[in-house]
């Protein structure tokens, strides 16, 4: 009995969070397809999510590609399988590392910023002000961010894939002595459309998750600066966990036999 009560309370609290989040997500999605639309705000958010994330995503991708080539070489050299390095790099980057690392970086940068901005608007009554000015915050604040996230993350991941593969190329050619033409030819030969497509689908899903978590935690923040701080932390942590969870689920969907 003493164990059942706290367990029950925890379960109910968990279900309540799931319920609130589902209602918020369905409202956000429905407002993405209902007028009025705010193309300027969507464009502004796309620049915020995509353009300003390019440096951090690009740096992450290039060093990941470089390390991947280096580590693969040290492992594969034991079995004289060095020629498989381009294959390993392109598959790892396009299927997993590109979308997941870009997603995690954007979650840290953009998800946190969205939660902080919307959270501050909540505690300073700016969201209430939107209501009193006959403007629905879901249309004005949430929908443009969600649309921007879903549209921009795939573009960002394409860039990350390219830079990541280039990182592998740099190490392979300039440090490990690969022939540049052969390396590129092998990379292109091994690359399959499904690898890239699965990565882009993941990116769109991650874009939705990141923006939804940022908006949800910001929109529901309470209690001044401390509340905004908690909202920011929760947005990043929950988005990161969901990215890793959905990464597995989407991989399962595409590649399980």
């Amino acid at each position: 009995m003493p164990l059942i009560q706290p367990l029950g309370r925890l379960t109910l609290a968990f279900l309540e969070i799931i319920g609130r989040l589902s209602i918020f997500a369905s409202a956000a999605i429905s407002h993405c397809f209902r007028p009025p639309f705010y193309p300027r705000l969507i464009l502004k958010q796309m620049i915020e999510v995509g353009y300003y994330s390019l440096p951090v995503v690009g740096l992450t991708a290039i060093f990941t590609g470089m390390v991947l080539a280096l580590q693969s070489y040290t492992g594969f050299a034991r079995f004289s399988a060095e020629s498989a390095i381009p294959n390993v790099v392109i598959v790892s980057i396009t299927r997993e590392l590109g979308p997941v690392l870009a997603g995690l970086m954007v979650a840290g940068r953009v998800g946190a910023a969205m939660a902080a901005e919307i959270g501050t608007m909540r505690v300073t009554e700016q969201i209430d002000a939107l209501y009193t000015l006959a403007t629905n915050p879901f249309k004005y604040l949430i929908a443009p961010r969600v649309i921007a996230g879903v549209l921009t993350l795939p573009i960002l991941v394409l860039v990350a894939d390219t830079i990541g593969v280039f990182g592998g190329y740099l190490v392979a050619v300039h440090k490990l002595g690969f022939n540049p033409a052969t390396y590129l030819k092998n990379t292109l030969d091994f690359m399959q459309a499904i690898d890239v497509i699965s990565g882009l689908v993941k990116a769109a899903a991650f874009g939705f998750i990141i923006t939804l978590m940022g908006c949800y935690h910001g929109f529901n923040s309470k209690g001044g600066a401390q509340g905004v701080g908690s909202a920011t932390t929760n947005a990043v942590v929950s988005a990161s966990i969901l990215i890793l969870t959905f990464n597995y689920l989407i991989t399962e969907l595409f590649f399980s036999r």
């Binding site: 300073t124 009554e125 700016q126 209430d128 002000a129 209501y131 000015l133 403007t135 629905n136």
Partner: protein, 282 residues
């Protein structure tokens, strides 16, 4: 931007005012709102007459802000009725409530200006978003409203963070009156201001309300401000209106709640809770 209203809401808007409702802009009956075990508004009744300025006074945590948020549709009451122009607003859907809110203008306690927008964009926000006006049409109106609150064109391109508290309040007032609303709400309009700036804001409020011929509802515990801006005053205590009357009757009434509150007395029917265990709802 055109908005549609449901047949039910439209019918309520168009219905003739009953003699009982005549001259009453906002009619509140049996309004109850609780947060957990704490009942903040308890079967509250209040009429706000058309073209009049009513100030609701009361101590901190007595539910003044909750009352305002219920009227604005930002909080859902547990029970009761709120009619605006004879239209019941409790239970309206989001789209219909947005239509009702087009009648409203609101000055928040700390102005609640949008940080990411310039001053003129803040003032013109309601015109552009809710009324679908273009930037070029909204700009001169925003300038006109800024001039009304004593701010010139040189402030138009600034951001809220660049202004003082008093200036932000004036911009908030300009934003509230920009759409020429029927009803103006003021939440603690003089909080955080020095007495001179408080007086300036009060004069601007009176000027704006009279200029628009609007109905005004203010919540405040600043008695000097309340006297300056009101035609009528209502006292909220323990979730109910304990007194309502004309401003000039404030000093002559024998209501013990009013007597204790306006004189700042510790002795009287108002119990000041010093335990700090109550939820802040003022």
């Amino acid at each position: 931007m055109t908005r549609t209203i449901s047949p039910q809401a439209s019918q309520q808007v168009n219905q003739k005012k009953s003699p009982e409702n005549s001259g009453v802009k906002i009619r509140i009956r049996g309004l109850t709102k609780a947060f957990g075990p704490k009942v903040v508004l308890n079967d509250l009744d209040l009429d706000i007459h058309e073209g009049k300025s009513l100030v609701v006074i009361g101590g901190s945590g007595t539910g003044k802000s909750v009352l305002l948020k219920c009227i604005l549709g930002l909080l859902k009451p547990d029970s009761g009725s709120i009619e605006i122009d004879g239209q019941e607003i409790i239970g309206l859907g989001n789209d219909d409530m947005e239509v009702v809110r087009q009648k409203f203008g609101m000055l928040f306690q700390y102005a609640a200006l949008f940080d990411s927008l310039t001053i003129w964009e803040n003032v013109a926000f309601g015109l552009m978003q809710a009324h679908g006006m273009s930037k070029s049409d909204a700009y001169p109106i925003a300038m006109e409203k800024l001039a009304l609150v004593g701010l010139g064109e040189r402030f138009a391109g600034k951001f809220p963070a660049e202004l003082s508290t008093g200036m932000r309040k004036r911009v908030g007032l300009a934003r509230a009156i920009a759409t020429s609303p029927d009803v103006l709400f003021f939440d603690e309009p003089t909080t955080g201001l020095d007495p001179v700036m408080g007086d300036v804001i009060d004069r601007l409020i009176v000027q704006s309300v009279q200029g628009l011929g609007a109905t005004a509802l203010t919540i405040s515990h600043d008695m000097d401000s309340a006297r300056r801006i009101s035609d009528r005053i209502a006292m909220l205590y323990d979730g109910k209106i304990t007194w309502v009357g004309n401003t000039e009757d404030l000093d002559t009434t024998d209501n013990p709640y009013i007597h204790q509150f306006i004189n700042g007395l510790l002795e009287g029917p108002i119990q000041f809770r010093l335990t700090g265990t109550d939820r802040a709802t003022g």
